[in-house]
């Protein structure tokens, strides 16, 4: 299962890079909806990376949940 999570993190990281390029492209060409939408997609990809890291046990639960 850990391998699946690691692959997920790698895939999402690659997607994040793509979305970051979308932000830069949107800004450079004044396509603000593309740039703004890419910001959203990037944040969503980050949220799934955080979730996978948590499921892998690399980030811990909150202090109160321990």
């Amino acid at each position: 299962m850990r391998t699946v999570y690691v692959m997920g993190v790698v895939l999402l990281s690659a997607l994040s890079l793509l979305f970051a390029l979308g932000i830069i492209y949107g800004e450079a060409t004044d396509r603000w909806f593309l740039g703004g939408g890419s910001v959203g997609a990037l944040l969503i990809a980050y949220s799934f990376i955080v979730l996978l890291l948590r499921k892998m046990g690399m980030t811990g639960p909150r202090k109160t949940e321990r």
Binding site: F33, G40, Y46
Partner: protein, 399 residues
């Protein structure tokens, strides 16, 4: 016969609520299989609503700087925000979709707390303040649609005026107050802008009321959900721009008869297709008042039936209190405060104390949590002493 019916109705209601409670808990268990329990979004519906409200405030401040509240310029200023201001269309979309998220979050929060009985007894204050948050949130969303001052806003304003006029006795005065005179003018949009921002400010007063008796409210969701929700509104703002609904600017000559629907904020106006304005107003008032009385009418058990609700307000045994603050941190109702101790306690552990626990009687719900929190026997429920519990246990064993 009537007695039988009266008994059946609470019975059916109790069974319905019990099945809803079970369904809610099953859903919790199912979501907990997908997410770690501290990431379960169902535990943070209130925090998610608060996050969307914060997003609304920030994006609203941005939009406010560019908005011109006059009949001739309002629509043009919104167009300028969308097309001329860098990322203005995105911020407008974020404002719109965060408003939808706010209402969805509030409704989920309401249903969850209703189905799990977390609106009864001492939790009636959060429930009532929550109803006001929902009411004001809905009204603010409606005025937001008016501020654009397109043909939809024009039609909404005339429909709202019809609803106001249908109110007996106060209708004419309320209409004059709303539109600022006998007809729609520049002053009308200024008033609508005030009715958009003023109640939005009041939301934070209601939030204070919502939180004041909760010791550990979950004000914000976990970081993973902050990222996801903020990302979602940005993604929607970019992928589904609010400008896709090309509605022309309002003009005195325009006679719009329909508009694109928003199920979160404009349902009452959709009802006007089938019902007279007065009936819609009556329905809205009934829904709101009905919501307010839910905590008092929908109890499955009365305080007497629960049996443990008359144990008396918790009392601090001065001589035993060490000022350790455990009760202060554990009380879920903010009913215990720590004050500088006027003198040492009587017990050895309390001899060097610097603080003393004091119970705020108006906040205490006699739950006994502080009794369990205190390792020094410095708190008691006066009508539910340890010897009473032991006696009841002994009686139960003998029976």
């Amino acid at each position: 016969m009537s007695t039988v019916v009266e008994r059946q109705i609470p019975g059916r209601y109790a069974r319905l609520m019990t099945s809803l409670l079970r369904g809610t808990l099953r859903l919790d268990v199912w979501v907990n299989r997908l997410y770690p329990t501290d990431f379960n979004p169902l535990y943070y519906t209130g925090g998610l609503s608060n996050l969307f409200l914060f997003t609304l405030v920030l994006s609203g401040i941005f939009l406010f700087f560019y908005y011109d509240a006059s009949l001739g310029e309002a629509f043009a200023s919104v167009q300028y925000i969308t097309d001329g201001v860098p990322y203005g269309g995105i911020v407008r979309g974020v404002h719109r979709y965060a408003a939808d998220g706010f209402i969805v979050g509030i409704l989920l929060h309401l249903l969850r707390n209703w189905f799990t009985d977390r609106h009864l007894f001492a939790r009636d204050n959060p429930w009532i303040s929550g109803m006001f948050l929902l009411l004001f949130g809905g009204f603010i969303g409606f005025t937001g649609y008016q501020l654009v001052w397109d043909e939809r806003a024009q039609l909404l304003t005339s429909m709202f005026v019809a609803m106001l006029r249908s109110i007996p006795a106060a209708g004419a005065t309320l209409t004059r107050l709303f539109i600022g005179g006998l007809g729609i003018s520049d002053g009308t949009l200024v008033r609508i802008l005030f009715l958009h921002i003023g109640p939005a400010t009041a939301l934070y007063a209601f939030l204070w009321w919502h939180y004041v008796r909760l010791r550990h409210p979950k004000i914000w969701p976990p970081g993973v959900w902050v990222l996801f929700c903020v990302g979602l509104v940005f993604l929607l703002a970019g992928a589904v721009p609010v400008t896709r609904e090309a509605i022309p600017a309002a003009t005195p000559a325009a006679r719009p008869t329909s508009f694109p629907m928003d199920i979160f904020f404009l349902i009452p106006f959709w009802l006007l297709n089938f019902l007279p304005a007065g009936v819609v107003v009556l329905l809205l008032v009934s829904l709101f008042v009905g919501g307010l009385v839910i905590p008092y009418l929908s109890r499955r058990e009365t305080p007497t039936e629960m049996g443990v609700r008359h144990s008396g307000v918790a009392q601090v045994i001065d001589g035993n209190c060490t000022g350790c603050e455990l009760c202060y941190y554990d009380c879920p109702y903010n009913a215990i405060v720590m004050v500088p101790s006027p003198g040492p306690g009587l017990s050895k552990a309390a001899a060097n104390r610097s603080l003393l626990a004091v119970v705020i009687e108006s906040r205490c719900v006699e739950c006994g949590i502080c009794i369990g929190a205190c390792p020094f026997e410095a708190l008691e429920l006066p009508k539910f002493l340890e010897r009473d519990v032991l006696r009841q246990v002994a009686e139960a064993v003998q029976a």
